[in-house]
Assembly symmetry: C2
Homo-oligomer: 517 residues x 2
Amino acid sequence: MANHFCLLLIFTFFTLSFPSIGSSLSSSSSSKLLPRFPRYTFQNRARIQQFRGDRNEYRYETKFFSQQLDHFSFADLPKFPQRYLINSDYWLGASALGPIFLYCGNEGDIEWFATNSGFIWDIAPKFGALLVFPEHRYYGESMPYGSMEEAYKNATTLSYLTTEQALADFAVFVTDLKRNLSAEACPVVLFGGSYGGMLAAWMRLKYPHIAIGALASSAPILQFEDIVPPETFYDIASNDFKRESSSCFNTIKDSWDAIIAEGQKEKGLLQLTKTFHFCRVLNSTDDLSDWLDSAYSYLAMVDYPYPADFMMPLPGNPIREVCRKIDGAHSDASILDRIYAGISVYYNYTGNVDCFKLDDDPHGLDGWNWQACTEMVMPMSSNQENSMFPAYDFNYSSYKEECWNTFRVNPRPKWVTTEFGGHDIETTLKSFGSNIIFSNGLLDPWSGGSVLKNLSDTIVALVTKEGAHHLDLRPSTAEDPKWLVDQREAEIRLIQGWIETYRLEKEAKVSLLKRSW
Amino acid sequence: MANHFCLLLIFTFFTLSFPSIGSSLSSSSSSKLLPRFPRYTFQNRARIQQFRGDRNEYRYETKFFSQQLDHFSFADLPKFPQRYLINSDYWLGASALGPIFLYCGNEGDIEWFATNSGFIWDIAPKFGALLVFPEHRYYGESMPYGSMEEAYKNATTLSYLTTEQALADFAVFVTDLKRNLSAEACPVVLFGGSYGGMLAAWMRLKYPHIAIGALASSAPILQFEDIVPPETFYDIASNDFKRESSSCFNTIKDSWDAIIAEGQKEKGLLQLTKTFHFCRVLNSTDDLSDWLDSAYSYLAMVDYPYPADFMMPLPGNPIREVCRKIDGAHSDASILDRIYAGISVYYNYTGNVDCFKLDDDPHGLDGWNWQACTEMVMPMSSNQENSMFPAYDFNYSSYKEECWNTFRVNPRPKWVTTEFGGHDIETTLKSFGSNIIFSNGLLDPWSGGSVLKNLSDTIVALVTKEGAHHLDLRPSTAEDPKWLVDQREAEIRLIQGWIETYRLEKEAKVSLLKRSW
């Protein structure tokens, strides 16, 4: 991972697809940057349709809400259409105080998140809940300035892509929705996974008058500044491999040098291109290393106990499969052949791929990179000792430089903790706030930056040893292990408790009012 | 009060003093608008010096902090110098976890608020507290864009004058201050009166990780939308007069028609000018009515039990004095002579004024009017039944039109309750948040929009029947009645409790850490 930041993929502001976009933003055509969550790609588009087809219950209407571009100033700015999905099939209605379940849309197409959050759909009938999935500004179809091209044109047009604005969007949206439905008294419960989970937790803290509680799944709200060690992410991801097989872990750890050595040979890049079946010849070994380490990180996130199709179609316990391939290759297979055999589980489980494209997201114009370059500065390092990834020390100066070169923007690395807290969160929230569930699976490398212990009686952590990235938000399946069923049941009980308490208070107030008439 | 909104004074964007300012803002040279808190005028400037001279303990350094203009977007905007006052004479220091008392600067010169918040100075030695008084952006010397002229030039330059930005200013400022003092672990306690009290309460709710508690004195956080009846303010103000003397109340109530009748006579305005000793001839009876009703409202706010010099030099129980003059005039005095005798207590208690100027603030360029025209939309009406003020029904359309004509801005009347809550605040805060004191005196017409009962064990109301506008924040005096001494003692005990609890938690954590070493 020498000479690059962390996980991620590639800024491609000069792709053929969007030749004009971002041309004023960046003078470098490609730079690797920034940790990231599972990401929506255009390939997922087809899968959304498939999900909806498979599961009849994912029915929703798509609507748009005319949203304020800047909630915190009174500059004369154009409104933008915020997309939201809505399903009222199960709703008890306003007079019965039927709850409203609001999923806090994260950095991607809201349909992708909605169709990958089966848990909410599963429990909606039981709760008689109205479901709404507002999309995050600057993603999917919720574009300011009329189009993605305009919204992503430069640092000025992008400047309103912030977490605080997104939370205010949700607040304004749901307040208006409730008014229109005469449902002002109905309790709102927030849901979110990953960055969406961070939004859910923060929204409950910042807008307690709007939502009575939040289920924040795999929400690394502590992955900022110096709150958790920067090595946390890669240590956990590495451990996921080591626990399956230490030889697998060691093979991967040794492979980076092998790649560099191969690359330095005459025709080495050509050979690597062949070994890894790329469609075009590699430009550098870094491209290969990035492609691999991104896959390992994603594998750790989606190391689910049963087959799933979130990032990629994958078998259950995919890391076990990867390691089986790496360890089980023919005894005279080279280290790189082993790696290839393993990584094919991730990139080509269906066996349909003839050759691999390095940039799996041709429309790489990326809001998350903007967010990482402004507020979401999550320092990450990989150390020699516990990590199987290439050694890397987070270096804020080069991070900042990269952001400047790409977006002409300077990050504010201390702003998130100023705005949302994080340092010594126990003392702050021990006697402040209520009704937040932080759910995490310890296989998920993001769990290290999340809340893993109860902060108070009502701000609680639900941790599973064998869970991965917001597994609890996925639909129930016949293969669900008991610990997962238990985790979801605990969540349901807690949410029921919030709603019951809220209703009792409302009813007490109404009867008090009636008595005073 | 026909044909004008409520309390206040006059927009004078075309004054001789600032001929260029606001010329692009308004096409009407004068319009009366908007309820308001006691306001800082340039006359107060001299009094600040006097206070500081009188009371040696008001010693502070004046400093400036380079502040972000827009915390919630990443637009490339210039920083601005935020002024703050600081006193560390009594501070216990960082290692002793000495508390930091932060006064949330409101809509005016911070020196005025600092020197009128003697309570904080009085208790600082007892607590070993560091005192800081950050100024509110766009007031005093804390001007974006280099000068008041530039900051107030138009709706675009004014657009960052919002409450959320001001709170973020305080958060960023104090976080940086603590870092520089290596005082990260020191507890911050917030103070504020009036709008500053609203800021203190909201800041505790929005930034619990930054401040452990807030004393919000006379903070009408519920004076929005339909949360309290719009008549509340004028009903309370009227009652303050009625409780002193119902004939006084009736004389004032009858005076509005008498003024109009007089004004309709030939040379009526000239006669009214003479009766009320104005320096120049009245343009309309409205000007006189506004001048009177503004005085009555302010009198209700500062109806303190001992002589004070906050808005104006006044005797103790000034309303009693006003009514004594109104009721005690010679038996053949006209109704208007009586009113003049009464109002002179307010406008000319020292007897030094030869004639009255109608616009007592020649530099009327006014940030509060901008705030009232954007976020701080407080509906106020005056009804025939309980109010001695001219009847008036709040009319949002004309309010909005007035704002458009003045500032070329549209208010967002529902935004404050979306951002900060207010509707059914009991249910929201019963199990959310902690450590806020809402202190109020029931003579204060703003008390009707404040929190007057305990919301939970730690979000409490301290209400005094005989108190007025943030009386508790004033310095202790020999004349303090027992109920005021008791109120302040209760505040001190609560703040002590917050700090002790915080320290115990911090120490427990430190000893836990030590044990695990």
